[in-house]
Symmetry: C2
Subunit: 647 residues, 2 copies
Amino acid sequence: MGHTVIFQPSGRRGEVEDGVTLLDAAHELGVDIEALCGSARVCGKCKVKLEEGFFEKFGIESKTDNLSKLLEEEKDFFSPEELADNYRLACCAYVHGNVLVFVPEESRGAKQVILELGRERAFDLNPLVANYYIELIPATLEDQTNDITRIKNELAAKYGLTADLAVDYPLLQTLPGTIRDAEWKVTVTVWDGKEIIKVSPGLKEDVYGLAIDVGTTTVAAYVCNLRTGAEVSKGSIMNPQVRYGEDVLSRITYAMMNDDGLSKMSGAIIEGINSLVDRLTEEAGIRPGDLVDMTLVFNTAMHHILLNIDPKYLGRAPFAPVISNSVDIKARDLGVKISHCAYVHCLPVEAGFVGPDNVSVLIAEEPYKQDKMILVIDIGTNGEIDFGNREKLFSTSCATGPALEGAQIKFGMRAAPSAVEGVIIDPETKEPKYKLIGQDKWWQEGDEPIARGICGSGIIDVIAEMFKSGVIQSSGRVNQKTGSSRVRKGADGKWEYVLCWAKDTAIGKDITVTQGDVRAVQLAKSALYVGAQYLMEKRGVDKPDSVTLAGAFGSYINKESAMVIGMFPDCDLENVQAVGNAAGDGAKLALLSKNKRDEAEKVARFVEFIETATEPDFQTRFADAMAFPHSKDPFPHIQHILDKIPK
Amino acid sequence: MGHTVIFQPSGRRGEVEDGVTLLDAAHELGVDIEALCGSARVCGKCKVKLEEGFFEKFGIESKTDNLSKLLEEEKDFFSPEELADNYRLACCAYVHGNVLVFVPEESRGAKQVILELGRERAFDLNPLVANYYIELIPATLEDQTNDITRIKNELAAKYGLTADLAVDYPLLQTLPGTIRDAEWKVTVTVWDGKEIIKVSPGLKEDVYGLAIDVGTTTVAAYVCNLRTGAEVSKGSIMNPQVRYGEDVLSRITYAMMNDDGLSKMSGAIIEGINSLVDRLTEEAGIRPGDLVDMTLVFNTAMHHILLNIDPKYLGRAPFAPVISNSVDIKARDLGVKISHCAYVHCLPVEAGFVGPDNVSVLIAEEPYKQDKMILVIDIGTNGEIDFGNREKLFSTSCATGPALEGAQIKFGMRAAPSAVEGVIIDPETKEPKYKLIGQDKWWQEGDEPIARGICGSGIIDVIAEMFKSGVIQSSGRVNQKTGSSRVRKGADGKWEYVLCWAKDTAIGKDITVTQGDVRAVQLAKSALYVGAQYLMEKRGVDKPDSVTLAGAFGSYINKESAMVIGMFPDCDLENVQAVGNAAGDGAKLALLSKNKRDEAEKVARFVEFIETATEPDFQTRFADAMAFPHSKDPFPHIQHILDKIPK
């Protein structure tokens, strides 16, 4: 008798035999769970969480005894909280019924590669938080001046700071001891020239801060030295809220349908951020308390949910957010475990779902400083588009879905080692060549069979190549008469293209691109295209002078492939550039530059948000844009490529 | 076999027989514990807490089985926290060894009478926190303006408030729902014209705040309507820190000697304040969350300890505090459970131990607005003295001890019903007349025997009368040759005066004034006198034009008695006034008036602190001032009284 097993957050599902372990089931279904000891039950790396809340959603009965009982030898690997949360070791839990299992980030075999490299950007290093070293004259019976006045007077005399500095209360608690133990020589950390937020013993030159881009699917974090501007460590995790819903709307719905839904999701992302804080400070050789400033960017829904603000009204017309201006929140009020008195700066919201992350992209790309008409596309689960120049900028958002990030694609995966990231298909034979992340050269017959799946840039590439080689038609339909064995009817009766044969993979299965995968990409690219179209019309322009592709995987994107599938309107490819995670870069810039924060506040009001999904002809345009590259619009800059496509 | 039982916070101690209940022991030792059901074990009112940490201090072995085991029938009366804290019902716990027991405020039989009436004071009602009612135009697809901007625009348009208002983050969390549920009609609470700290549905006219005077021994609290200036409820508790030390220095020592001493004491006073918040808001018919502003006054040591600031360096030369300016702290950061986004305003520190409470007395009494030379004495466990006028003011502090508050006096008690508050002794017969709190007339032979002890004003009165009637000499020594049976050698071999015979009391014992009590009062009054003397000299003046007596019991003090014992230098009695708890009044004024807060900041810098205890001739002067009224200084204004004293 078989049981259905579903692994989150990948969504991989399948039938397994009764009595197999979760670890075996995972391998069978191509889910990579770390297991250093090879099921010897000694490494404790294969922790997974038995989820219950989602069972009804899938029509599966909710019983915890669908797994074998917790073993004594498992227990030692878990904290009491984890035990209460139904954590198990995948190697110890035998499947005896339908189960839904969540694989935490740390248990996943393939750790995410940091792709958020960004590009070089010039800016003024002008951080909000700075250190000032002072040597105080000790108190005497003749001069009983209090500690704070003593500090302020010295800061005013030596550095010209205002004598009106505020002092955050908690730092007073240990101040007298700190000053005297340090023999009256201390470093004072000041926020925005306005508030003393830390006093450290002795001379402390370096000041550290954290910039975080909270995406719907991916959270990227950067620790920077505010004194030098250098990035000292970075990393990313999957947004832990993914378990509560794949996209923005499903999370708003989760918050509305569950009394503690909002606080659960808010708590999950804060916990995720704290895990990043621990990891990245350790990597940088500093302590979490050394982080004295932080910037946060996210879309408006993530903004509300992270801040534990009821997102209900954001999800329904007229979609008004609670606040648009930037907010400075004490880290302790948010529960973020950096320096106790530090502020967290949330960049301003634009309008609707276009949030601080788009403002962040704008301050990184600065289209408002340029004469030429720039189209900026930030590709994510929620896509954002900006168009215009210094005179006027418009923006909109699109429900792209996570397909371009490798999710909701049959063999999609995140950008991790052994993911297919580039593809070329021979137009004659339909035979593919592919490149894997972590490999210097294209994969060849005889190389190690390590392919695991296809990441976002690989998906764009393979779809473009399938189109260029005639495997799929302009409509997206798989061409059933290619004569290639790679184009076949799948087990579900639907057509698919075999990118890697099972023998050449690490998962022991054919890695295919299905008709459904093609459709998901079509929906995503059409949404982006139509959004851009509306903005250009609004601006009175029929084509962009340049196109900027941003996104967590953006620097690896093949811009020709992106144009071939029609992700954006025709443009000279020389003027199309991929800039990486511009939202993350903007968060870093805001961390390092007060001017950039001011600029963010201004541009958030300058850019005009256009609601495009409610336009009357939206559906028609959307349908027209489904075709590769488009059913009506011409693409002169790639016409030579389109001309070569086999009929 | 007898066991030593000590009851805190009164400090009453004595030997009891093995096997008596704690309730009986309490009655025997004159400690009043509430027991409505008369030991029937059904009312649960006689809760006490078995203290352990102090045992060593008293050289008593620390064993919890010095009390009988917890009974099943007791358990229901306690929370798990109380059980863990060794709470017992006094009627159920039998004494089988030496024990130290703490009687919580709510278990004490005689609830404190609110004596802090203050006097009428004219001031401008100009509170920092105010309510603004607005009706918003609902958001539409055409106007998606965010909620906060919508609110700020309306506040600017209707009330002329700045568009630059800050918003405290936590209120954002529920704001969208609040606004829409209230159909866009809300009341906005604004702090200092600068920050939105609350948004309530509909029209809410009244604004409430809390003023608290944290004395070393007594904590007084006042709930005021900030819109009308009316006091709507008030109350007081004994400072829960008393269990950690009677006076300021012993508490600083406790903080230094115990790792968690500071946080324990800070936690205890915050918990005490929260109990007052609950009680006083209930009495006022409002909720704790309705309190949107709060002022705090205390001496510098209480200031540091309440704020959980290391007081170590405050207790040793050069006695520099960590901060002198006023501080505004979010209630949530302090743990005070009023409105989540409210601020707590701590008035400024002057210098040394002269803290916000003295600043508070000054803004209530305003000597800095007068031409005449005013001596202000704030009587408390830590006494504060101010002298001067509009041109110059000096201040100092004196370690008075708690004797004048009725503590550390054999039959001393707080100002509560059935406490002796006034005394007259016949100079011939040495027979006393006395008045009890809560009784309209002087007690007479045949009246109910309800006397329980002597409160602060009663102590000053009885000492003055003992001196005037020749029971004690100018030196303070009991006159052994009065011929009265009331003047006798006590069980300890020391002389004492019997104020009430056992048959006339509720405690079944003679209420006496001992030689030790006289000495304690002499030490206190001498400290105050010498302090005043130094300040007058510093000011170049040999007598005050007027004397103001402040203190929690100040309005009941017999000013003639106070002068007869020499608590302050000679002055026309017509120019001596008792003004009640001026520190509490100042806290209320600061709550109700922004101008008063500004005045406090100014006067804290205007008044000059004089360290008197370190003066080289301090000891000599102190010795001289021990006599009644003084061994050297003349008292022309009461010479007629002194002349009548039997030789």
